[in-house]
């Protein structure tokens, strides 16, 4: 059986950052990803990121991805692409399928950085071609350079919905409206303003009632919602569209963590069931760590910091960093994480994360 010191599942921002941090301390790292290309969702992000210089602020997501990849290469990390981790057993054996062949990889430590999956929204007509996740749209327009439709309605006004709507405009589509069930816009006002000054309305207290069409989406029926989120009869309106994009949140991709026997807690602010973890990002199963969206839905910027934290903690646990060296490095990362979670938008996550990590520390 192949062996490694640290196996990382998922080569997105968290996994890449962890690999760089651990490998630069001397850890032998194997990074496994089911996709053909590493980078997770980073290469789809054509917008400039928020934050400070240390968070790569004002740098476009795909440029951050390129930087991380070249660093991973420089550190001599072994990268296995097109490789699906289908199981995790005992003290850290991963079952991996690559090129239709099954292999096993034994690791002293495992970091699960599997990311998240988009939430769906069921409504009459939701299975028609043309109803798709915002993430799928982003892949099509920004990676494959294919515009899947001409007129879109976006469901959800969180940052994903707002950003992807803007990118649809950049790609040459029309965005008829962004629809939000809550009475307030979910994402950053500046993202909303970019859309508004390009003439895109944002309809709050509104949802999609139905997608109409024979072979594909031809119309979207919207309806207003009352204070209790009930549809208000008679407020329906129809729009001719060929795309209904869903940006209604993400859920941690947690199958491997469940299989490994990690204890979970249900925390809506973090996207659902999240593995309990301590300040080192270690779960309730010794030797198994989590980082990024799996550890609670946040941003790529926080995923990178959590990845670094896990990478440092693992290097320390394997004896490559002294407790003193690790402490200094971890404190620097924690400071950056704290600064990113400040303010009204980070408040709910900050509190939820603290609650989860208190539980993790006790265990």
């Amino acid at each position: 059986m192949r062996e490694t010191e640290l196996a990382i599942v998922g080569a997105g921002p968290a996994g890449l950052s962890a690999a760089i941090e651990a490998a630069s301390a001397g850890v032998r790292v194997t990074l496994v990803d089911e996709n053909q290309r590493p980078g997770g969702q980073l290469f789809k992000q054509i917008h400039k990121f928020f934050g400070s210089k240390e968070h790569y602020a004002s740098v476009r997501g795909f440029d951050i991805g390129t930087k991380l990849l070249s660093e991973v290469e420089k550190q001599g990390v072994e990268v296995m692409l097109d490789s699906v981790v289908w199981g995790i057993f005992g003290t850290h054996v991963l079952g991996i399928i690559h090129d239709q062949k099954n292999t096993y990889l034994r690791a002293q430590k495992v970091l699960l950085a599997t990311g998240a999956i988009e939430n769906a929204l069921a409504f009459p007509g939701w299975t028609l071609p043309g109803v798709m996740g915002a993430g799928a749209i982003q892949t099509l327009i920004n990676i494959d350079r294919v515009l899947p439709g001409k007129k879109a309605i976006m469901i959800g006004s969180g940052n994903v919905g707002l950003i992807v709507s803007y990118q649809l405009l950049q790609a040459g589509a029309q965005v008829i409206a962004v629809v939000e069930a809550a009475p307030k816009i979910g994402g950053y006002g500046v993202h909303a303003s970019k859309l508004r000054r390009n003439g895109v309305p944002i309809l709050t207290s509104t949802t999609v009632k139905e997608a109409k069409g024979k072979e594909k989406v031809e119309k979207a029926v919207l309806v207003a919602l009352d204070q209790n989120w009930n549809q208000i009869p008679g407020t329906e309106s129809e729009y001719e569209v060929d795309m209904i994009c869903l940006a209604v949140g993400l859920s941690p991709l947690s199958e491997l963590a469940w299989m490994a026997g990690c204890q979970f807690e249900y925390i809506p602010e973090l996207g659902g069931h999240v593995p309990i973890h301590d300040l080192n990002m270690q779960t309730t199963v010794p030797g198994i760590y989590v980082a990024g969206d799996l550890a609670g839905i946040e941003e790529a910027s926080t995923a990178m910091e959590e990845g670094k934290l896990a990478g440092i903690a693992i290097a320390e646990a394997l004896g490559y960093l002294s407790p003193e060296e690790a402490k200094i490095k971890k404190e620097a990362v924690s400071r950056r994480l704290d600064s990113f979670r400040k303010g009204p938008f980070g408040k709910a996550v900050r509190k939820a994360k603290a609650r989860l990590q208190r539980r993790g520390e006790v265990q």
Partner: protein, 167 residues
């Protein structure tokens, strides 16, 4: 009308922001107008300003404060703002016209001298505008800065231009 409900800043919200220069300062020449109203963790504008006229400080969720006396209106803060929320207004451009510099991330770019349609924060066409400058150096990383001349009374409402259609 509020940013949270409607997606753009109302006149009342704008007056409360620490990044908006006074009417007196606007009359004195080009100056940044920072329409950043929510405490999000972000500070590239602070570092981008060669005159030290933008303060965010700690924590980085502070709203940017414009020291308008120091601001030269160079516009280097415009392309670094990930929220595309910074503009430069010059009320002294001519007797009747002011210029507005705005961030623009669509192709094709307008050309210097071209006549375009100026839009307000809601995307409504409010007046014709003339493109007086297009800056798109590598350093701006694909956020071009377009300067347009508009009637003075429209300068604090114009925040975009309509997409350019070419055959």
């Amino acid at each position: 009308m509020t940013l949270e409900k409607d997606g753009f800043l109302s006149p009342e919200e704008l007056t409360r922001l620490p990044g908006i220069p006074s009417a007196e300062r606007l009359e004195q020449g080009p100056v940044a107008v920072i329409e950043c109203a929510q405490e999000i963790p972000c500070n590239p504008c602070e570092e981008a300003c060669p005159a030290g006229a933008i303060q965010v400080g700690e924590p980085i969720t502070n709203l940017p404060v414009l020291e308008s006396d120091k601001c030269t209106g160079c516009g280097l803060c415009i392309p670094v703002c990930p929220g595309l929320a910074i503009f430069v207004v010059d009320m002294t451009y001519s007797d009747r016209e002011a210029t507005v510099q705005l961030p623009y991330e669509f192709l094709p770019l307008p050309q210097k001298g071209e006549l375009v349609t100026a839009l307000d924060r809601e995307g409504k066409a409010i007046c014709p505008a003339r493109v007086v400058n297009v800056r798109n150096p590598k350093k701006f990383d694909h956020t071009a800065v377009i300067a347009i001349a508009v009637p003075k009374d429209k300068a604090m409402n114009v925040r975009n231009i309509a997409l350019i259609r070419r055959q």
